[in-house]
Symmetry: C2
Subunit: 257 residues, 2 copies
DNA sequence: AGAAAGTCAAGAGCGGTGCTCACATTTGTT
DNA sequence: AACAAATGTGAGCACCGCTCTTGACTTTCT
């Protein structure tokens, strides 16, 4: 495949390279539109080629195959979500941990409701024959959980994370996993709070997936905003950022060791 | 479409009707195998016809179209999941509410891990062009949440459900939704606990979806069983069935009004 | 018994898909 | 101007969902 001209090219891009990059951008843009309109499984290279004003086989000069385009769209969506989450979190003061947690969850939900098909590509059932290449997608794909964990870790370091009220013990094989994650992400939170973070993470996406995928059942909830706000409030409490933290009579703060 | 012979047919089925029913059963069975092997989006009527030893157009005598087969498989999967959940819950004494909650969650997870593609059809991203007919799928589709709510309601009526520790207030428009649900399901639990139930419901499926869909990222968790056990323990606590209920020094039980 | 009605499998065909390949054309560089 | 790389073309293969006509068979009614 001669599409990759030179691996290390310090020189300025030739016009041809510029045109090629533009075409690939156009393909991704058109693919994103098709994806948003008709879903991942209905994404068709032929349709993209038609919109591009080119014969179907021509797009294979720029994109290896359908899977490759899916991968590009996957990375694109992960990064857009990550950007919006980061922006929403950064819009609040660094010591407003509960506010930032709310902003994070609300940003994910907002993006998911705005881009349901792309959200489905990221967090829904996997596309049948498709396996995401880990070396290209784990980076963008871990931005949200990374932001969440950094948030909880910051609260912990600031002594603003409450000790879990419920089950705190963590099984030994799980503790090994958590230790690996803690080391990989450079965190300081103890096992119980780290496990709480993982729980909050999956619960958040569970609530959003139910809403985006219509799993609640049509018209059972006329007030989805309030329902999600409730979810977030419960999760903040589970994470240790709840309303009782720092309030008189609330749970005792947990001091970093 | 003359395939439905007579709406009210008190007579014994003719041989023809029996053969027809058998063929439809075979189609559903083959479809279930294809679905489990290759996923919902890759389900092909032509492939089913091949396995049935018949030309592709012949299956349209028995199944309206691809969507119809998907609907049959959807109902089939919902019922299999519902059966297994009911059996797992019923295997424990009626007053072991925490045990039954654990059994419910574990049964869902077990089925999901055994049948990932069918789980994806039920709880994953919706199939692009497909819209499930509510009048045929809501019944089987609500069995699990119904079992969960009945479980929590039973615990509440028995005075074994703890008051929520965190945010208890429920926004007014959400309260209207909850009242409708409570009436529709014949429950007695107050708003705060009902909202907790909904939260637990979505969180449970969030954790399972992450595991089934490989959203955790390949090899981050070597001990998925322990991780899920932790999820369940947290959820039991959130629901009010936690370890502190009924124990000395634990949270006060909430008495039904 | 024979005709009418109902049922069913087969095959051709339409438009769509992913993807490959030989060929023609354009383009940048020497 | 000449060359080679990059790009676009169109035909073609195998697959898909779905429709329609045709012929054969079975059941039912007269």
């Amino acid at each position: 495949m001669p599409q990759n001209p030179k691996p290390p090219s310090p020189k300025p891009p030739t016009p041809r390279q510029r045109a090629r990059a533009r075409t690939i951008e156009d393909i991704v843009r058109l693919g994103r539109e098709h994806l948003a309109l008709h879903g991942a499984a209905a994404l068709s290279l032929r349709a993209v080629a038609r919109d591009l004003g080119v014969v179907s086989s021509a797009v294979y000069r720029y994109v290896e195959n359908r899977e490759e385009l899916l991968t590009l769209l996957l990375i694109d969506a992960y990064n857009e979500l990550g950007d919006e989450v980061d922006a929403a979190v950064a819009a609040l003061p660094g010591d407003d941990f509960a506010g930032r947690f709310n902003a994070l969850g609300s940003a994910v939900r907002r993006w998911a409701l705005r881009e349901p098909a792309r959200y489905g590509l990221l967090f829904g059932s996997p596309v049948p024959g498709y396996r995401a290449p880990a070396e290209r997608t784990t980076g963008p794909g871990t931005r949200v959980i990374y932001a969440l964990m950094a948030l909880l870790d910051g609260a912990y370091r600031a002594g603003r994370l409450a000790a879990p009220g419920g089950p705190a013990a963590v099984a030994t094989p799980l503790a090994a996993d958590l230790e690996r994650i803690r080391a990989g992400m450079g965190l300081a939170v103890p096992d119980s709070l780290l496990a709480r973070g993982a729980h909050v993470w999956t619960s958040l996406f569970g609530a959003i997936s139910f809403e985006v995928f219509g799993q609640y059942g049509g018209d059972t909830f006329a007030a989805p905003d309030e329902l999600f706000a409730h979810h977030l409030a419960v999760l903040a409490d589970v994470a240790g950022l709840g309303p009782s933290v720092g309030r008189p009579g609330g749970r005792a703060d947990l001091q970093p060791e």
